[in-house]
């Protein structure tokens, strides 16, 4: 029966053959292996084979009772180019298979062609909503291989920028989540608040998005004069606005009906799937790398790890809203405790000399030349370095061959792994809930596909 569908589709649309992804898509039940069928219905915890709840009614479904539809890469949900193939029984989702790769950029291959300093420009475009997280993970990996120490001020500024970025990312999430649910004014509010943060980024780094600010050894530039006032305004404004969002969303009956109890996930399932970040914390597991395996100066600031109870959509929403408030708290502490000092390591093999010295010193000129043409060489070795991005554990696995370019750059993207929870979360829900599920997992396709 599906053959007929394919033929008629090709007659009407000449590109149907090219846009279908064959074996990567959801196949008919009789063509799918049992273990894959189990995975598509979200049977996560199993010894082997298909282990479903015996009360599940669609275990022995036939293909003519259900409908496979395609929520194509271009769709209303604002979460990027994700293609979801759904098997539906009327309005209810039985099986799901996300097809990804529509934003595959070959960044890991490109990373092997760029020097270590240029690598930050490449990596920053993976999770484009929180660019500092990518750059930080990458630069920390490079610094571990180089075994250099980053000055304290640089560490604190990195932390400040990370937390501002977390706020910006969660604001984008709240905006797009509101839009997906139909609360379109949330889109305006989220982006309005974010403009404050982006204005600060532009003042400090020169760019609003894809900042290219964190470099191996420190930062590209110091904070501008008067940054304390800007950051103070950001903190105060955003903190107050979170209470407006509570009024707009948290207490509203329709919002609660659509989010509470929808798509719950248990802690065992989340851990088995490798899920981290707010999705894992919504199940009650208090795992936040900033607290449990602290990096930068997170052990010197006071903040709470927000944890949910039921693992449903509402918990994930509440976690992200409160993480904005916790980030404001951390930023305020950075304001008070910011140390003086260098904004980058003074190691001449890694950091280019100040431009004024190039005219005076031959050594400075040679260092500058070598650093910008060839790049600094990193000793042979391999390292895995992970941080807590707004989406979960963002890790960078770097293999170096002693040259000025990485030998292998692999980024462990949290959204890529979190997407595996999609079949589990969507099962049994309606198509409308499918959108909210994708939204609350908060995937960013740039890092899913890299």
């Amino acid at each position: 029966m599906s053959d007929l569908h394919v033929r008629s589709a090709e007659r009407l649309d000449p590109l149907a053959a090219e846009t279908s992804e064959g074996a990567q898509g959801l196949q008919r039940r009789d063509l799918t292996k049992k273990s894959e069928l189990g995975r598509e219905v979200g049977a996560v915890l199993r010894a082997n084979g298909l282990m479903l709840d015996p009360n599940d009614v669609d275990v022995e479904r036939h293909d003519d009772e259900t409908m496979i539809i395609n929520m194509g890469p271009a769709h209303p949900s604002t979460h990027g180019v994700l293609r979801l193939m759904l098997e539906l029984d009327g309005e209810f989702v039985l099986r799901t298979k996300p097809v990804i790769g529509y934003l595959h950029t070959g960044m890991e291959k490109t990373g092997e062609e760029l020097s270590y300093v240029q690598g930050a420009t490449n990596v920053t475009r993976m999770d484009y909503v929180s660019p500092i997280a990518n750059e930080l993970s990458y630069c920390m990996a490079v610094e571990k291989l180089l075994a250099i120490e980053v000055p304290e001020r640089a560490t604190w500024i990195r932390m400040l920028m990370s937390e501002l970025n977390r706020m910006a990312s969660h604001l984008v999430w709240m905006a797009t989540n509101g839009m997906d649910l139909g609360a379109t004014s949330m889109m305006i509010y989220g982006f309005r608040e974010r403009e404050l943060i982006l204005a600060f980024f532009e003042k400090t780094t020169g760019l609003r998005l894809n900042l290219n600010y964190v470099r191996p050894g420190g930062l590209a530039a110091d904070l501008p004069d008067g940054w304390e006032d800007d950051v103070e305004v950001i903190c105060d404004t955003i903190y107050e606005r979170t209470f407006e969002y509570d009024e707009l969303l948290t207490g509203q009956p329709i919002f609660r009906l659509r989010m509470e109890g929808v798509a719950p996930i248990t802690a065992e399932e989340a851990l088995a799937l490798g899920v981290t970040g707010p999705v894992l914390r919504s199940t009650g597991v208090p795992w936040d790398l900033r607290r449990t395996m602290p990096y930068l100066a997170y052990d010197q600031v006071d903040f709470d790890v927000i944890v949910g109870t039921y693992g449903d959509n509402f918990d994930r929403y509440a976690i992200r809203l409160n993480e904005i408030r916790e980030s404001v708290r951390i930023v305020r502490q950075c304001l008070e405790k910011m140390p003086r000092g260098d904004y980058r390591s003074q190691d001449p093999k890694v950091t280019p000399p100040p431009r004024a010295r190039i005219g005076e010193s031959m050594e400075a000129l040679i260092h500058h030349f070598k650093l910008f043409t060839e790049g600094f060489a990193v000793p042979t070795g391999e390292v895995y370095s992970a941080i807590e991005s707004p989406r979960g554990e963002l890790g960078c696995y770097l293999v170096s061959d002693g040259g000025p370019r990485p030998y292998r750059l692999h980024v462990r993207a949290p959204s890529f792994v979190n997407m595996q929870a999609v079949p589990l979360l969507m099962r049994g829900g309606s198509v409308a809930d499918a959108i909210t599920v994708v939204s609350t997992i908060d995937p960013i396709m740039g890092e899913v596909d890299r």
Partner: protein, 185 residues
């Protein structure tokens, strides 16, 4: 018969102006945000840089209802046929803005995975450079497109691609050498 093929007199000249005004005053974009540029496109549609001032805040989800495709982001090899499919589903008149360097030329990703310029797949009217272009750059691109629509430059371009030779006699102003952006006189 398209408007531009008619021998113009005073009345049809006015009608053509009216049609062009209507077309540029309510261009509805299709949602085709792919990557980082999509976030800047959404920011352009939100507060601070408001696209609603051009009547463009309604991003149509269905390409059948859209006039403008803003290709915002890098187009991978897997996405290219989908892009063409969405473009084909849009109805004439339709325009394409290539937003960002990845859509215009492949950007910093000169490799196996990225189509080096979306103009290899769809005809582009305006290229907006930047990585990502700030919402102001996108608005400049949109205003450039509006100006092109206003002067009929676009319709004339498409006419040149066809083999008919029709001399257009019209009292409407000639195509300016530099495209003037801003409120038309």
């Amino acid at each position: 018969m398209a408007l531009e093929d008619l021998q113009h007199n005073f009345l049809t000249g006015q009608v053509e102006d009216l049609v062009r005004w209507a077309r540029r005053a309510s261009v509805w974009p299709a949602t085709f945000g792919l990557a980082c540029c999509a976030i800047e496109m959404m920011a352009a549609g939100a507060a601070d840089y408001d696209l609603a001032r051009y009547g463009m805040e309604v991003f149509r989800n269905s390409p059948r209802q859209a006039d403008l495709m803003i290709v915002a982001g890098r187009v991978s090899q897997k996405m290219a046929p989908v892009l063409r499919q969405v473009y084909d589903q849009m109805m004439e008149p339709k325009w394409v803005i290539s937003m960002g360097v990845c859509a215009s030329s492949g950007g910093m990703f000169n490799n196996y995975a990225i189509v080096q310029g979306v103009d290899q797949i769809v005809p582009v009217d305006v290229y907006a450079p930047g990585c990502p272009p700030s919402p102001e750059t996108l608005m400049h691109a949109i205003l450039t497109l509006h100006e092109q629509i206003r002067t009929g430059e676009i319709l004339q371009r498409r006419r040149e691609a066809r083999p008919t030779h029709v001399e257009q006699i019209s009292w409407t102003p000639q195509v300016p050498v530099t495209v003037r952006v801003g409120t038309p006189k």
